[in-house]
């Protein structure tokens, strides 16, 4: 039976991992829903509004980007533009080299995963250390994040405690407080020895040049407090027009992502340390990263650039819950990743053209998305693109012959009648793979092609006759 890669990955996923992903995602979703609907009469209106604001930004990036650059420069920030992953890594490396820096502390940023910064710097003798607890654990285990908010959603306490023990971070103890405490102790010393701090940006406000970084652990504050140089990696779509838009977006981000009214640490960074300010980095750099985003802008799916990386669509997605994040072979998994990851590849789209197939098109992702992205529509557009580019799609039945039948009534009627022969055939001999796949876990009802039409004719001929049978299926 030929099936899709993500289905195979889900079938291979270990029970322990699947349970961790499933429970983590489900709890995340349920807490979010309760918080949003307990506090707002109509949270959907907020999602729509946020979606409109972000769509406006996406449609006007060409004017917002120069505007924000001017603002940043006026604020004393050095601005860099990187069109590829390689260029972004080079830009960061050049900044570090100029300062003779060899030790970097990092707050959580998905863009750094995207451009594979850690490996790039390691090869050039620069150590970069993750300071977000989840990312720290990923780094320690030479693993990959499997969720954009909860990178270690696929690991349970036991696995983490064992990992710490193996790495000399204390004897086995799987109490979350102990794990956190141990990571903290280890990291504190590292902050003090670091030369530069790297963050992402949750938002970049155009009118003020304000960079907003949201965390729950305060680690990004340490990155900035302990080092002289702040580098921010910012995807070009991260812009919000006005400072006052933050009220809406910080609210939706915290509620959708982590089911909090507000994240614990919301940092608003306007530039490097100003004269008279007691602390803060003396140098601040913003590296704007394209890395395929202009491909997305030019596609029929630019709505995905509204995404604020909250992870709500992952949590609610039944496919993500079964397959886990690694099945998507991408930095961005789940529904958002199924759209974004293949698009970011540009001409190499076919390599990940299977991701948009991994959806029953149930629409739950659209229903939770804080910026109301019509994810199912975008998945469909990408399926059309994959078909147009003739990317093979294992397990998907071919539709050409069917569509000819379904547009010729006479042929359709013959097929309706002919289908009954199926019932008289040993199923194992029927050469239709889709039927095999169906019957791998489900019985097929009896073929009754054309019965309704016969019933209706009879009823029309003799009004009152032809009462249908008590209707119980299957």
């Amino acid at each position: 039976m030929r099936t899709q890669r993500i289905d195979q990955a889900a079938a291979r996923l270990g029970a322990e991992t699947r349970a961790a992903v499933y429970d983590g995602a489900k709890i995340g979703h349920e807490k979010r829903t309760k918080l949003l609907f307990d506090h707002y009469a109509d949270p959907n209106r907020l999602r729509e509004l946020a979606g409109e604001i972000k769509q406006h930004v996406v449609e006007n990036l060409d004017t917002y980007l120069p505007a924000v650059e001017a603002r940043l420069v006026a604020n004393g920030v050095k601005v860099h533009w990187a069109s590829t992953a390689e260029a972004a890594c080079e830009a960061v490396h050049a900044i570090l080299r100029a300062r003779g820096a060899t030790k970097l502390v990092k707050a959580k940023t998905m863009v750094s995963e995207e451009i594979e910064l850690e490996g790039y710097l390691r090869e050039r003798g620069i150590e970069s250390l993750e300071t977000d607890l989840g990312e720290f654990i990923v780094q320690l285990d030479h693993d990959r994040p499997s969720h954009i908010i909860k990178p270690i959603i696929h690991k349970n306490r036991r696995q983490i405690a064992e990992l710490f023990e193996r790495n000399g971070l204390g004897a086995y103890n799987d109490e979350p407080q102990v794990i956190t405490q141990r990571a903290r102790q280890f990291l504190r010393h590292k902050y003090l020895g670091a030369d530069a701090g790297l963050t992402g940006a949750n938002f970049m406000v155009a009118e003020s040049g304000r960079l907003v970084v949201v965390t729950n652990e305060g680690n990004s504050r340490f990155c900035l407090a302990a080092t002289r140089c702040h580098i921010a990696l910012v995807g070009i779509e991260k812009i919000l027009p006005r400072d006052r838009d933050l009220a809406l977006f910080l609210n939706l981000l915290a509620r959708s992502g982590t089911a909090q009214q507000l994240s614990v640490y919301n940092e608003f960074i306007l530039g490097p340390r100003a004269p008279g300010q007691p602390d803060g980095p003396e140098e601040m750099h913003v590296v704007f990263v394209d890395n395929g985003r202009t491909n997305v802008l030019a596609s029929s799916c630019r709505e995905i650039l509204r995404c604020i990386r909250c992870g709500a669509c992952l949590n609610v997605c039944p496919v993500y819950r079964q397959a886990g994040g690694h099945a998507y072979r991408s930095v961005y998994p789940g529904p958002v990743g199924a759209v974004l990851s293949p698009l970011l590849l540009g001409r190499r789209f076919p390599e990940k053209a299977d991701l948009p197939k991994a959806s029953s098109l149930c629409g739950a992702c659209n229903e939770v998305c804080p910026v109301n992205i019509p994810i199912p529509d975008l998945l469909l557009r990408l399926r059309d693109r994959a078909h147009t580019e003739r990317v093979p799609s294992p397990g998907t039945p071919p539709m050409g012959a069917w569509s000819i039948l379904a547009s010729q009534p006479a042929a359709w009627k013959v097929a309706l009648f002919g289908g009954r022969f199926l019932d008289h055939f040993p199923r194992s001999l029927v050469p239709v793979p889709a039927l095999r796949a169906w019957e791998s876990s489900r019985d097929l009802p009896k073929w009754r092609g054309g019965e309704f039409r016969r019933w209706l004719k009879l009823r029309r001929k003799r009004p009152g006759a032809g009462q249908s049978s008590p209707g119980i299926t299957p």
Binding site: P394, L405, P433, S468, P474
Partner: protein, 253 residues
Amino acid sequence: MLTSHRTPVTGRRVQLMATCLCDAFHDDVAAAAVEVLEHLGCEVAFPEGQTCCGQPAFNAGDWPASRRVVRHAVRTFASPDPIVVPSGSCAAMLFHGALLEFEKEADLGEVDALGRRTWELGDFIVNGLGVRSWPGRFDAVVALHRSCHTRGTGSSDAAALLLGSIAGVRLVELGEGEQCCGFGGTFSVAFPHISAAMGRLKLDHVRAARPDVLVSGDMGCLMHLGGMAARQGAPVRSMHFAQVLREALRGAA
């Protein structure tokens, strides 16, 4: 969202789109839809040339094939009377999906017009005709599976309203109602493992709610869940929403 806004219903003449699943497997559901509509005083036409809504090819990404079928539907259902479909999924294909694949086509206008007059059965009864309760009697604990393609439409609320109004019906909620049952058309065969895992979770919720009957407005979901329950050796009694409405009418007689 790209959606054809439905034209208000004025007359009582309707066209029934039986759907390919009812045409091939579930004739009694289409028959029940006819009886329910006739009970409401509708004159039900059944355009003989009808086939399918085009959704299988649409979801598979073969949009040229899907458009061929949608164009056939445009020709078959040319009358301006409302088109009533006993499936939220097929109805949504015509008032939403078809617009996506016809966005750049010259005949978008005709497809949009088709969408404007297409209704899922429950949505039609409640929001089209303004009927808010259902007569008769049906003694059963009923669990309503809210099928995914009716998200954002009036269908699920309409079905719950009508079912809840029937004497003898007690509605019970299914846990995690927002979760898909795993059918998803071709998804069910291209992702058989995940589809089955989703189906098992849904069946667990169904069994936990202990209904006498599992009801849905979509035969796709019921075929998948029912076929899976049968395979597990623990069948779940399931009925289409239209069948419950008709049984209630018979219960009154």
